[in-house]
């Protein structure tokens, strides 16, 4: 169940990232999603890796800006949040990517 939600989240993020890649010409941009691992290369901006962690029912994020984070799913709000300070995965990704790419990025609704 949680695995399916994780899949759905990552696929949603993948869609948005692919559209960004199609619409904007960013040097070194590459997004790949296979075997439950989403890799986003931003050239000089670094590489983001998002992957499912089925045993813990989490999504793990590796960010070149803010390092590693682990997100749990909150069924009530339908969001993935970081247990230590309760920020959501959308917030951190939207902020960091908007910063690196220079335009507004909204990964999930």
């Amino acid at each position: 169940m949680a695995s399916k939600v994780a899949d759905h989240t990552l696929e949603g993020i993948l869609d948005v990232l692919e559209t960004i890649g199609d619409e904007h010409d960013i040097a070194g941009y590459d997004v790949e999603y296979s075997q439950g691992v989403l890799t986003l290369k931003l050239g000089s901006g670094g590489t983001y890796v998002l992957n499912k962690q089925p045993p813990n029912k989490q999504i793990w994020l590796s960010s070149p800006k803010s390092g590693p984070k682990r997100y749990d799913y909150d069924t009530a709000s339908g969001k993935w949040f970081y247990a230590r300070d309760n920020h959501t995965i959308d917030e951190v990704l939207n902020n960091e990517l908007s910063d690196i790419l220079g335009f507004d990025v909204k990964l999930l609704e």
């Binding site: 692919e18 890649g21 199609d22 590459d30 790949e32 999603y33 296979s34 075997q35």
Partner: protein
């Protein structure tokens, strides 16, 4: 070049592991291969025998002496398959002997070195067609690539787009895939071709509907060699936001193909048509704008999840090497083959009358010459030309007695379709071979026509279409 005896001995010893190690370090080309000669086994198969068959009472008094000359027939069936370039074999050998790791093994050197070779080959293939290496996926051949393109794209977009356009002269695998999709509920338009083999661009544009998902038109036809107007088709497809797939198995490495200049979204590549190994091919899948496909083969997610399965390193390296050689030698090969092709056509048409070339004169790949000899049956001519390896129509339909559907689509009547022979000229065809072929073809055509009652009637001026044949 080493002597035959030495080669034989080396082949015997080469299997020993200790020798293999040292062999892998030397340049294999010196040891194992001299250009286009054959191993001991192949020679034995061609040992000459002389056999005389005494006639029986109903053989009309003909006595036949079958003398099998040593050596193998001249190979002029390049569209069926092509001999492997020795340089390709050289590139493959280390991966067939010493470097046998699985390219997906991430934890040891065996995996890393083969992965590097696979990625290098990918770049070589991409360079040949003007693509990005990330857009090349290795498959088992063009048939798999065609299936993947059509079924993959059709299934992915089946929610909103239900229409597919293709032509009547496509390869069997494309037509079969379309037929299967039709049975699943898709609409397929099979575009007719003009008598010269080219599609009518206007007719094609009119066939596009708002719900068309993919157009599949082959670049070079395998039976008649005709080259479709790929650039124009690509432009129209891009304008109408329809995916354009082309089966370029016979085109890649022979005519310049550029996926960006020609607006191609998907392309099928076949290894053994460009002097590479059999059993390998590739599919080009465009990333910008992205083409989405549903994978047909499920598994460990290799090749970006589009085609699971261990990538066969030796074959892939062979394909890469073949593409690299093609990039470098395409122009030279083209000039040479054009010259030989002209020599062949002029040679035959000047000495024999009523020979028709199937397919357009200008927009045809010179290495594929399909000729129809009126009043001569194709199969009997092929049988007579024992020392030349030819084909009438395509290899995949040669088992059935039906005349080629490609020739039928050109509007050729059945007699002309039955009397067609396809000459395939390639990188290793020599002028001497072409001259030999001209002489023999001319000789046998004349002999067969002498025997033909239809030819006699035509010479007397009788219109064959006016004859009422009696039924049995």
């Amino acid at each position: 070049m080493l002597s035959r005896q030495l080669q034989r001995n080396i082949l015997k010893v080469a299997a020993a592991p200790s020798v293999r190690l040292s062999l892998a370090k030397q340049a294999p080309r010196v040891v194992l291969f001299s250009l286009r000669t054959f191993s001991n086994t192949a020679q034995k198969q061609n040992a000459s025998t002389v056999e005389t068959l005494t006639p029986n009472s109903d053989s009309l008094g003909f006595e036949t002496t079958a003398i099998e000359k040593p050596g193998r027939p001249i190979y002029l069936d390049m569209q069926a398959t092509s001999p492997m370039d020795p340089r390709v074999l050289d590139a493959m050998l280390p991966y067939l002997t010493d470097l046998y790791g699985n390219p997906h093994s991430r934890t040891h050197q065996y995996g890393w070195e083969t992965e590097r070779a696979v990625e290098e080959a990918r770049e070589q293939v991409a360079k040949l067609i003007g693509a990005d290496p990330k857009e090349i996926i290795f498959t088992s051949g063009a048939t798999e690539a065609n299936n993947l393109s059509l079924k993959g794209v059709a299934h992915f977009y089946k929610g909103k787009k239900k229409h597919i356009i293709t032509t009547q002269i496509e390869h069997k695998c494309v037509l079969e895939s379309c037929r299967v999709l039709q049975e699943e509920g898709f609409d397929v338009t099979y575009l007719p071709v003009q008598p010269n083999g080219l599609i009518d661009i206007k007719q094609f544009e009119e066939a596009i509907r708002p719900d068309t998902s993919i157009v599949s038109i082959m670049s070079v036809n395998n039976e008649i060699g005709v080259i479709q107007p790929i650039e124009e088709i690509g432009k129209i497809c891009r304008k109408n936001k329809v995916f354009f797939h082309t089966d370029a198995a016979q085109a890649v490495g022979k005519i310049p193909m550029d996926v960006n200049a020609m607006n191609i979204d998907l392309m099928s590549i076949s290894g053994h048509k460009l002097y590479g190994p059999k059993g390998i091919g590739a599919i080009y899948v465009r990333r910008r704008p992205r083409v989405r496909l549903e994978a047909v083969q499920s598994g460990g997610g290799q090749e970006r999840g589009i085609r699971s399965g261990t990538v066969p390193t030796p074959l892939v390296v062979g394909l890469g090497a073949a593409c690299k050689i093609a990039t470098e030698e395409m122009e030279y090969d083209d000039q040479r083959i054009s010259r030989l092709s002209k020599r062949l056509i002029d040679g035959i048409q000047s000495k024999v009358e009523q020979v028709v070339r199937n397919g357009d004169d200008v927009h045809t790949y010179p290495g594929c010459v399909n000729l129809s000899f009126s009043y001569v049956e194709g199969e009997s001519l092929l049988m007579a030309l024992k020392e030349i390896a030819l084909s009438s129509g395509s290899a995949c339909t040669s088992a059935s007695l039906e005349p080629s559907y490609v020739l039928r689509a050109l509007g050729a009547d059945d007699e002309m379709a039955h009397s067609s022979i396809r000459f395939g000229i390639g990188r290793f065809t020599t002028e001497a071979e072409i001259d030999y072929v001209i002489n023999h073809v001319v000789g046998h055509v004349n002999k067969l026509r002498d025997m033909s009652p239809l030819w006699e009637m035509v010479q007397e001026g009788i219109d064959l279409k006016s004859i009422q044949w009696s039924q049995h």
